[in-house]
């Protein structure tokens, strides 16, 4: 199915209900597109470093030399990278797959120092504003952006959040996963403070930290992309425990955290484990509530990657036991090769959870999402 799009684009007068919110989708800059947005002092430094530099991939997704860890049909014909063409994303994700609103999560990498991380974050935010969320590229009003914040530099990150908060098209704060120490450390409090003051959830996506060049487990490095990617959820499991046991949600009762692409089935036994140690040892940090209560009120996970056993009934039951309708937000991860189609995800969810997970939870978490959007003739409806 191919839907022809002609420029200039007209917004329909007719409104339609939002039925699918995609909370994980990745725009990327066209070649050179980010540079003008970088603070001047970093432009030539970053350019010099990348002169003569090649691929930095160490853990390779299947058939990497041909797929680059992307859906191979998502590369635009102009030779730029997957995710760099707003029109192609619009066609494949909104028109063909049937997602109604897309929360863009740009992953433009980081730097070698706190200042560099922050500079990339600043540039990424200004670039989203100019190249994705502006009235020309976002004529359909279906894109929302993320305020990228450099957790390496919490005070600067808090300033950056303040700078963009209130932008009608910025819906969340976005941070990277692999930083040390874990999120319970009080050094990050300015970020939580700025986010909650502005009613923004903080989403955490896989992303390099500065301590190890690659994510390292407590028993050393994994061998393949397979064991690495599967075990990545252990990092999120630790962040959840840190947020809970270190009292972050007692310090910031309005904080909402979204774990993107960390899988979620592990959250069920993790809640039992946290409750079990809490019952045995009591509230070590003066916690006010049972650990699983904090999870259900403050933590969200996106659905992709939707991992299932052969026996689908086991999956359904585990969703019921964890009360997944209080935890999950639909996501596709387009244009990455692990893309999940919204119709396929919806079909695997218990009927009574479907609407909450596909869009209602998102409308609650992301405070500035509309419940209706201008209709798009010919758009597939996934739900």
């Amino acid at each position: 199915m191919t839907i022809e799009m002609q420029r200039p684009k007209e917004v329909s007068q007719e409104m339609t209900e939002v039925r699918v919110v995609d909370s994980d989708i990745h725009p990327s800059p066209k070649r050179g597109e980010l540079t003008p947005f970088l603070p001047a002092k970093f432009r030539s430094l970053f350019e010099n470093r990348s002169t003569g530099a090649g691929s930095p991939v160490y853990y390779d997704a299947p058939d990497f030399a041909h797929s680059f860890a992307m859906r191979t049909d998502s590369f635009p014909s102009d030779g730029n990278f997957a995710g760099s063409d707003p029109d192609l994303m619009f066609r494949q994700v909104i028109m063909e797959a049937g997602c109604d609103l897309l929360i863009l999560g740009p992953l433009n990498g980081g730097g070698q120092t706190e200042e560099e991380h922050h500079a990339v974050a600043q540039a990424t935010n200004a670039w989203q504003d100019a190249c994705w969320l502006d009235s020309e590229h976002n004529w359909h009003q279906r894109f929302r952006g993320s305020i990228v914040a450099a957790m390496e530099h919490p005070e600067a990150a808090a300033r950056e959040i303040e700078h963009w908060a209130g932008h009608p098209m910025m819906s969340q704060v976005l941070i990277g996963a692999e930083l040390r120490p874990a999120w319970g450390d009080p050094r990050y409090d300015p970020v939580w403070e700025a986010a909650t003051r502005n009613g923004l959830p903080v989403a955490c996506h896989l992303g390099r930290g500065q301590h190890n060049e690659l994510p390292m487990s407590p028993v050393g490095f994994m061998t393949y992309n397979h064991d690495l990617m599967v075990s990545y959820s252990m990092l999120a499991a630790n962040q959840v425990m840190s947020l809970v046991f270190d009292g972050v949600f007692d310090r910031f009762p309005d904080l909402q955290i979204v774990f993107i692409e960390h899988a979620f089935n592990w959250l069920l036994p993790l809640m039992w484990r946290m409750d079990a140690i809490h019952a045995k040892r009591g509230p070590e940090n003066g916690l006010k509530r049972k650990p699983s209560d904090y999870v259900k009120d403050h933590i969200w996970c996106t659905t992709q990657p939707l991992d299932m056993p052969e026996d689908k009934l086991e999956f359904t039951r585990s969703l019921e036991w964890m009360e997944a309708d209080k935890i999950l937000l639909f996501s596709s991860d387009y244009p990455h090769w692990t893309f999940d189609d919204p119709q396929w995800v919806a079909k695997h969810l218990p009927a009574h959870m479907r609407e909450k997970i596909m869009y209602q939870n998102a409308l609650q978490v992301f405070k500035n999402l509309p419940e209706t959007v201008p209709a798009l003739p010919g758009q597939k409806r996934a739900l």
């Binding site: 997704a61 299947p62 058939d63 041909h66 797929s67 859906r71 191979t72 049909d73 090769w337 692990t338 893309f339 999940d340 189609d341 119709q343 396929w344």
Partner: protein, 113 residues
Amino acid sequence: MATVDEIAPGEHKVVPIGRWGVGVYNVDGRFYAIANYCPHEGGPLCSGRTHGVTVVDPEVPGGAAESRAGEFIYCPWHQWGFELATGTTAVKPEWSIRTYPVRVQGSDVIVTA
């Protein structure tokens, strides 16, 4: 559906049969036809790449080699692989794709759908 010289060895052509189209593949002179639809999440299967399967080969550096080059189609979305001739997979034979009988008559490739 197609002529033999339209599809060179190693090449394929998607012809308009059914809802998704059917991909006709030439693997070293043998022709196969599969639905352009992946049973996993519905990806456009025939936009994927064909290659072989990896086997253990202790004699080569790295210990692995490609076997049966070109005989498998890998989905462009999640890289699941299927054998063009049978539509199945070694890992989980029950996850298969639809294949169609193909015969060559003179210079014509005929797919029975």
